[in-house]
Symmetry: C2
Protein backbone atom coordinates (compact mmCIF):
# COMPACT_ATOMS: atom_id res chain seq x y z
CA UNK A 1 0.00 0.00 0.00
CA UNK A 2 1.96 2.98 -1.28
CA UNK A 3 -0.13 5.54 0.61
CA UNK A 4 -0.18 3.77 3.99
CA UNK A 5 1.97 5.48 6.62
CA UNK A 6 2.60 2.19 8.47
CA UNK A 7 3.64 0.40 5.27
CA UNK A 8 6.10 3.26 4.73
CA UNK A 9 7.57 2.47 8.15
CA UNK A 10 7.83 -1.20 7.27
CA UNK A 11 9.63 -0.47 4.00
CA UNK A 12 11.91 2.16 5.55
CA UNK A 13 10.53 5.22 3.79
CA UNK A 14 9.56 6.67 7.18
CA UNK A 15 11.72 5.95 10.24
CA UNK A 16 9.69 5.30 13.39
CA UNK A 17 11.18 5.05 16.89
CA UNK A 18 11.47 1.27 16.60
CA UNK A 19 11.65 -0.82 19.78
CA UNK A 20 11.24 -4.33 18.36
CA UNK A 21 11.12 -6.06 15.01
CA UNK A 22 10.94 -9.63 13.74
CA UNK A 23 9.97 -11.25 10.46
CA UNK A 24 6.24 -10.70 11.05
CA UNK A 25 5.81 -7.54 13.14
CA UNK A 26 7.26 -4.08 13.74
CA UNK A 27 6.92 -2.20 17.06
CA UNK A 28 7.58 1.50 17.58
CA UNK A 29 6.67 4.27 20.01
CA UNK A 30 3.37 6.12 19.56
CA UNK A 31 4.03 9.77 18.73
CA UNK A 32 1.13 10.82 21.00
CA UNK A 33 1.72 8.63 24.05
CA UNK A 34 -1.13 8.06 26.52
CA UNK A 35 1.02 6.32 29.15
CA UNK A 36 4.72 6.21 30.14
CA UNK A 37 5.06 3.26 27.77
CA UNK A 38 2.93 3.46 24.63
CA UNK A 39 4.09 1.35 21.73
CA UNK A 40 2.32 0.30 18.54
CA UNK A 41 2.78 -3.24 17.22
CA UNK A 42 1.83 -3.74 13.56
CA UNK A 43 1.92 -6.64 11.13
CA UNK A 44 4.47 -6.04 8.38
CA UNK A 45 1.88 -7.16 5.85
CA UNK A 46 -0.84 -4.60 5.14
CA UNK A 47 -4.17 -5.63 6.67
CA UNK A 48 -6.64 -2.77 7.08
CA UNK A 49 -8.73 -3.85 10.08
CA UNK A 50 -9.45 -6.81 12.34
CA UNK A 51 -12.43 -7.53 10.08
CA UNK A 52 -10.01 -8.26 7.24
CA UNK A 53 -8.22 -11.11 9.04
CA UNK A 54 -9.07 -14.56 7.77
CA UNK A 55 -8.51 -17.94 9.37
CA UNK A 56 -5.11 -18.31 7.70
CA UNK A 57 -3.93 -15.12 9.45
CA UNK A 58 -4.29 -16.60 12.95
CA UNK A 59 -0.56 -16.97 13.48
CA UNK A 60 0.16 -13.44 12.26
CA UNK A 61 -2.57 -12.04 14.52
CA UNK A 62 -1.08 -13.95 17.42
CA UNK A 63 2.33 -12.51 16.58
CA UNK A 64 0.93 -9.08 17.49
CA UNK A 65 0.13 -10.29 21.01
CA UNK A 66 3.42 -12.16 21.35
CA UNK A 67 5.25 -9.06 20.11
CA UNK A 68 3.44 -6.93 22.68
CA UNK A 69 4.41 -9.31 25.49
CA UNK A 70 8.02 -9.22 24.32
CA UNK A 71 8.12 -5.42 24.22
CA UNK A 72 6.49 -5.26 27.67
CA UNK A 73 9.35 -7.43 28.97
CA UNK A 74 11.91 -5.22 27.25
CA UNK A 75 10.32 -2.06 28.68
CA UNK A 76 10.20 -3.47 32.21
CA UNK A 77 6.40 -3.42 32.57
CA UNK A 78 5.63 -7.14 32.12
CA UNK A 79 5.29 -7.76 35.85
CA UNK A 80 3.69 -4.48 36.92
CA UNK A 81 1.17 -4.74 34.09
CA UNK A 82 0.13 -3.49 30.68
CA UNK A 83 -2.92 -3.24 28.45
CA UNK A 84 -3.19 -4.14 24.77
CA UNK A 85 -5.84 -2.37 22.68
CA UNK A 86 -6.85 -2.78 19.05
CA UNK A 87 -9.41 -0.40 17.56
CA UNK A 88 -11.50 -1.48 14.61
CA UNK A 89 -13.31 1.12 12.51
CA UNK A 90 -14.78 4.50 13.30
CA UNK A 91 -16.65 4.16 16.60
CA UNK A 92 -13.56 2.63 18.19
CA UNK A 93 -11.41 5.49 16.95
CA UNK A 94 -9.25 3.60 14.46
CA UNK A 95 -7.10 6.28 12.84
CA UNK A 96 -4.74 4.43 10.50
CA UNK A 97 -6.25 1.68 8.40
CA UNK A 98 -3.42 -0.78 8.90
CA UNK A 99 -3.99 -2.98 11.97
CA UNK A 100 -2.06 -1.71 14.98
CA UNK A 101 -2.04 -2.94 18.55
CA UNK A 102 -1.56 -0.30 21.27
CA UNK A 103 0.59 -1.48 24.17
CA UNK A 104 0.17 0.80 27.21
CA UNK A 105 1.78 0.57 30.62
CA UNK A 106 3.92 2.22 33.24
CA UNK A 107 0.88 3.62 35.05
CA UNK A 108 -2.33 2.25 36.55
CA UNK A 109 -4.91 1.83 33.78
CA UNK A 110 -8.54 2.83 34.40
CA UNK A 111 -11.82 1.04 33.69
CA UNK A 112 -13.73 1.20 31.43
CA UNK A 113 -11.09 1.19 28.72
CA UNK A 114 -12.40 4.30 26.99
CA UNK B 1 -7.14 -25.44 36.72
CA UNK B 2 -9.83 -26.61 39.12
CA UNK B 3 -10.16 -23.25 40.88
CA UNK B 4 -10.29 -21.06 37.76
CA UNK B 5 -13.74 -19.60 37.08
CA UNK B 6 -13.10 -19.43 33.31
CA UNK B 7 -11.93 -23.05 33.20
CA UNK B 8 -15.19 -23.94 34.95
CA UNK B 9 -17.04 -22.22 32.09
CA UNK B 10 -15.03 -24.16 29.54
CA UNK B 11 -15.78 -27.49 31.21
CA UNK B 12 -19.46 -26.67 31.77
CA UNK B 13 -19.44 -26.44 35.56
CA UNK B 14 -20.53 -22.79 35.28
CA UNK B 15 -22.83 -21.72 32.45
CA UNK B 16 -21.91 -18.34 30.98
CA UNK B 17 -24.06 -16.42 28.49
CA UNK B 18 -22.21 -17.92 25.54
CA UNK B 19 -22.29 -16.10 22.20
CA UNK B 20 -19.65 -18.07 20.27
CA UNK B 21 -17.54 -21.19 20.64
CA UNK B 22 -15.11 -23.15 18.51
CA UNK B 23 -12.43 -25.73 19.22
CA UNK B 24 -9.98 -23.14 20.56
CA UNK B 25 -11.98 -20.30 22.14
CA UNK B 26 -15.15 -19.57 24.11
CA UNK B 27 -16.94 -16.18 24.02
CA UNK B 28 -19.58 -15.02 26.49
CA UNK B 29 -21.13 -11.77 27.74
CA UNK B 30 -19.36 -9.85 30.51
CA UNK B 31 -21.55 -9.77 33.63
CA UNK B 32 -20.56 -6.13 34.25
CA UNK B 33 -20.86 -4.66 30.73
CA UNK B 34 -19.11 -1.36 29.93
CA UNK B 35 -20.73 -0.92 26.51
CA UNK B 36 -23.90 -2.11 24.73
CA UNK B 37 -21.84 -5.05 23.47
CA UNK B 38 -19.26 -6.37 25.94
CA UNK B 39 -18.12 -9.92 25.36
CA UNK B 40 -15.13 -11.84 26.73
CA UNK B 41 -13.21 -14.18 24.46
CA UNK B 42 -11.02 -16.74 26.23
CA UNK B 43 -8.77 -19.58 25.14
CA UNK B 44 -10.20 -22.94 26.21
CA UNK B 45 -6.75 -23.92 27.46
CA UNK B 46 -5.74 -22.29 30.74
CA UNK B 47 -3.06 -19.62 30.20
CA UNK B 48 -2.77 -17.14 33.07
CA UNK B 49 -1.53 -13.97 31.35
CA UNK B 50 -0.14 -12.66 28.07
CA UNK B 51 3.32 -13.11 29.62
CA UNK B 52 2.73 -16.86 29.70
CA UNK B 53 2.24 -17.22 25.95
CA UNK B 54 5.14 -18.80 24.13
CA UNK B 55 5.97 -18.84 20.45
CA UNK B 56 4.04 -22.08 19.91
CA UNK B 57 0.86 -20.36 21.15
CA UNK B 58 0.79 -17.82 18.30
CA UNK B 59 -2.12 -19.47 16.52
CA UNK B 60 -4.16 -19.78 19.74
CA UNK B 61 -3.48 -16.13 20.57
CA UNK B 62 -4.58 -15.15 17.07
CA UNK B 63 -7.75 -17.20 17.55
CA UNK B 64 -8.77 -14.73 20.27
CA UNK B 65 -8.64 -11.87 17.77
CA UNK B 66 -10.34 -13.90 15.03
CA UNK B 67 -13.00 -14.92 17.55
CA UNK B 68 -13.54 -11.29 18.51
CA UNK B 69 -13.95 -10.28 14.86
CA UNK B 70 -16.45 -13.09 14.36
CA UNK B 71 -18.49 -12.09 17.41
CA UNK B 72 -18.43 -8.44 16.29
CA UNK B 73 -19.95 -9.55 12.97
CA UNK B 74 -22.57 -11.62 14.79
CA UNK B 75 -23.45 -8.71 17.09
CA UNK B 76 -23.76 -6.25 14.20
CA UNK B 77 -20.90 -3.96 15.28
CA UNK B 78 -18.21 -5.00 12.80
CA UNK B 79 -18.83 -2.04 10.50
CA UNK B 80 -19.63 0.64 13.09
CA UNK B 81 -16.60 -0.35 15.13
CA UNK B 82 -15.34 -2.15 18.20
CA UNK B 83 -12.36 -2.24 20.55
CA UNK B 84 -10.49 -5.29 21.80
CA UNK B 85 -8.66 -5.02 25.14
CA UNK B 86 -6.48 -7.50 27.01
CA UNK B 87 -5.23 -6.63 30.50
CA UNK B 88 -2.07 -8.20 31.81
CA UNK B 89 -1.35 -8.13 35.55
CA UNK B 90 -2.24 -5.73 38.32
CA UNK B 91 -1.65 -2.22 36.94
CA UNK B 92 -3.78 -3.03 33.92
CA UNK B 93 -6.59 -4.30 36.15
CA UNK B 94 -6.48 -7.99 35.21
CA UNK B 95 -9.06 -9.62 37.48
CA UNK B 96 -9.18 -13.27 36.44
CA UNK B 97 -5.84 -14.96 35.80
CA UNK B 98 -6.95 -16.80 32.67
CA UNK B 99 -6.32 -14.70 29.54
CA UNK B 100 -9.50 -12.95 28.39
CA UNK B 101 -10.01 -10.50 25.57
CA UNK B 102 -12.66 -7.81 26.12
CA UNK B 103 -14.66 -6.98 22.99
CA UNK B 104 -16.51 -3.66 23.39
CA UNK B 105 -18.77 -1.86 20.95
CA UNK B 106 -22.17 -0.40 20.22
CA UNK B 107 -21.10 3.05 21.39
CA UNK B 108 -18.34 5.52 20.58
CA UNK B 109 -15.19 4.55 22.50
CA UNK B 110 -13.07 7.27 24.13
CA UNK B 111 -9.33 7.90 24.14
CA UNK B 112 -7.17 7.15 26.07
CA UNK B 113 -8.38 3.60 26.58
CA UNK B 114 -8.43 3.85 30.36
Amino acid sequence: MTDCVFCKMVNGEIKPDTVYEDERVLAFRDTNPQAPVHVLVIPKRHIATLNDLDESDAELAGALLLGAARVAQQEGIADSGYRTVINCNNEAGQSVYHIHLHLLGGRRMRWPPG
